[in-house]
């Protein structure tokens, strides 16, 4: 999937997928429910859900890696299912329940998956971590076999350039109560 040219193109993009069109685009009203809170917004129809979360709502936990659905750093939950928010148009999600990493846990009240990522040292630079955790939390509700290989398969949409994969699998398996080949140290 990621061909090197595409990755380069994605990373070169700025924080804003709107482009540099000279004319002022139409702005449309939308009400989004994010982490249980309603927000009335006026946005350009091109605004991705990811850009909307980060630039309009200042929820910067969701990260922009490739902006093409290839890296998983932007993963959020819509109506309980994990999706790539970079490939969603924000304006299409009125009435949907959107949960971001900020809604999963807080600094003094970590979700068990967040706590497990800490215990298992399941990250290095941390850039992919919010997406990894959003995927991992969703995975708990999905048909996933017991083995590390099953977890790896269902986590393949989240890329970690530091290569923390063994510890990520261990963190998830710990929360699932499964034995991982890689034990937390």
């Amino acid at each position: 999937m990621p061909d090197p040219n595409e990755s380069a193109r994605g990373f070169a993009g700025g924080p804003d997928s709107v482009g540099t069109s000279a004319e002022m685009p139409d702005v449309i009203p939308v009400t989004l429910s994010v982490n249980g809170k309603k927000h009335d917004l006026r946005i350009d129809p091109r605004t991705s859900l990811l850009d909307c979360l980060r630039d309009h709502l200042h929820l910067t936990g969701s990260k922009k890696g490739c902006d093409h659905g290839q890296c998983g750093a932007c993963t959020v939950h819509i109506n309980g299912r994990r999706v790539n928010s970079c490939l969603c148009l924000a304006a299409r999600h009125e009435g949907d329940e959107i949960i971001t990493i900020e809604g999963v846990g807080q600094r003094d009240n970590l979700h068990p998956m967040q706590a497990s990522f800490v215990t298992c040292d399941a990250y290095q630079c941390g850039y992919c971590t919010p997406g990894q955790i959003m995927s991992a939390v969703a995975l708990l509700q999905e048909p996933c076999g017991p083995e590390d290989a099953d977890v790896k398969e269902l986590m393949s949409g989240n890329i970690c350039r530091c290569g923390a994969y063994p510890n990520i699998v261990a963190a998830i398996q710990t929360v699932r109560g499964k034995n991982s080949d890689k034990k937390a140290e």
């Binding site: 999937m1 061909d3 040219n5 595409e6 193109r9 997928s17 709107v18 482009g19 069109s21 004319e23 685009p25 139409d26 449309i28 350009d44 129809p45 091109r46 991705s48 902006d67 093409h68 659905g69 998983g72 993963t75 299912r81 994990r82 999706v83 790539n84 490939l87 969603c88 148009l89 304006a91 299409r92 995927s135 969703a138 995975l139 999905e142 048909p143 790896k152 398969e153 269902l154 986590m155 393949s156 949409g157 989240n158």
Partner: protein, 333 residues
């Protein structure tokens, strides 16, 4: 990304009326339906697609899966993950479940829809790069792939104008299962066998399907599973997960007294459309199952292969993939 008008269709008639105003439903359409958005928004970000208007289908009631003695009805809006994990699909149409789960990532499968997957666009890098010539994106501009990086591209159904591969896994399984695509348009409804739905590139690679402006895919149907049939989807790729097929095979076979009594074969990663192989099916039918027969069927399936400068390996790889898929399916029996 070029700006666009976003509208939400209240019902299918409204969606069809809106889209019927476009001059084409193919590459460069001014009006596009949007459902999962995983292909369309990706291509809009690349300026490969620049629709002036998007018609949002997400509120249309097209997301039901219905099993009956007549087969399976799959709504156009059914998400790939819901289809893959549906108990009837897992049990009776295993090849479809396996194909869907081998495609993309869990996040994308939660977004992508059945109709969107039928219309999935090629991953040919020249199609996706507006600075390069591409007859599919810009008719008459030439094909950069034929003299360029063509390792992942097609060896069957190509023309001198286009060698782009159809990237879908689901379509390969649908071809082997002989799906029918149901379309509603301004002139009424019609049902199209999947074998006819996708077009060969020929001189007009920008035309990929039979769809005309206003045509809305409403659902796909699968016939009841053939009695005693076993099915397998085998996908070979550069890495174990989240990667497009170099080659893949969908096989649906029935064995009785050691003989193949019925076979439906389709290949992925090698064709400019989901590649149903009537040649392999004919070679298999009424013959004694076994490796020798499977090799003959594979030779028949790839006889017309026309490899490019970098993808000659696909010819033998596709043969081995089909042979192994047939072994797996007949071991199951």
């Amino acid at each position: 990304m070029k700006t666009f008008q976003l509208t939400r269709a209240a019902d299918s008639a409204e969606a069809i009326d809106a889209a019927a105003q476009a001059t084409t439903a193919q590459q460069g359409a001014e009006i596009r339906f949007i459902a999962g958005g995983t292909t369309l928004l990706d291509l809009m970000k690349l300026n490969v697609e620049q629709p002036e208007k998007l018609v949002d289908l997400s509120r249309l009631p097209l997301d039901e899966i219905e099993a009956s003695p007549d087969g399976l009805t799959i709504g156009a809006g059914v998400r790939n993950s819901d289809l893959a994990y549906h108990p009837v699909v897992r049990e009776k149409y295993a090849v479809l479940s396996e194909a869907l789960l081998s495609g993309a990532s869990a996040q994308l499968r939660n977004m992508a829809t059945t109709a969107g997957n039928l219309l999935q666009r090629t991953r040919c890098m020249y199609f996706r790069a507006t600075e390069m010539p591409c007859n599919k994106r810009e008719p008459g501009s030439g094909c950069a792939a034929i003299t360029g990086a063509n390792r992942s591209l097609a060896i069957l159904g190509t023309s001198e104008h286009c060698i782009a591969t159809n990237p879908s896994d689901m379509n390969v399984a649908m071809a082997a299962l002989e799906a029918t695509i149901h379309v509603r348009g301004s002139k009424g409804e019609r049902s199209i066998p999947i074998a006819d739905f996708h077009l060969l590139p020929g001189k007009t690679p920008e035309r990929e399907t039979l769809l005309e402006p206003g045509d809305l895919i409403t659902h796909a149907t699968l016939p009841p599973p053939a009695s005693g049939a076993r099915s397998v989807y085998l996908k070979l790729r550069d890495r174990a997960s989240y990667e497009f097929a170099l080659v893949s095979a969908a096989v649906v076979v029935t064995i009785a007294d050691g003989k193949v009594t019925r076979a439906r074969i389709a290949l992925g990663g090698v064709g400019t459309k989901p590649w149903r192989s009537n040649e392999a099916e004919a070679a298999l039918t009424n013959q004694a199952a076994g490796e020798e027969l499977f090799r003959r069927a594979a030779e028949a399936a790839l006889r017309e292969a026309r490899p490019q400068s970098q993808n000659g390996f696909k010819v033998e790889l596709a043969k081995r993939c089909l042979i192994h898929a047939l072994k797996l399916a007949t071991q199951k029996a």
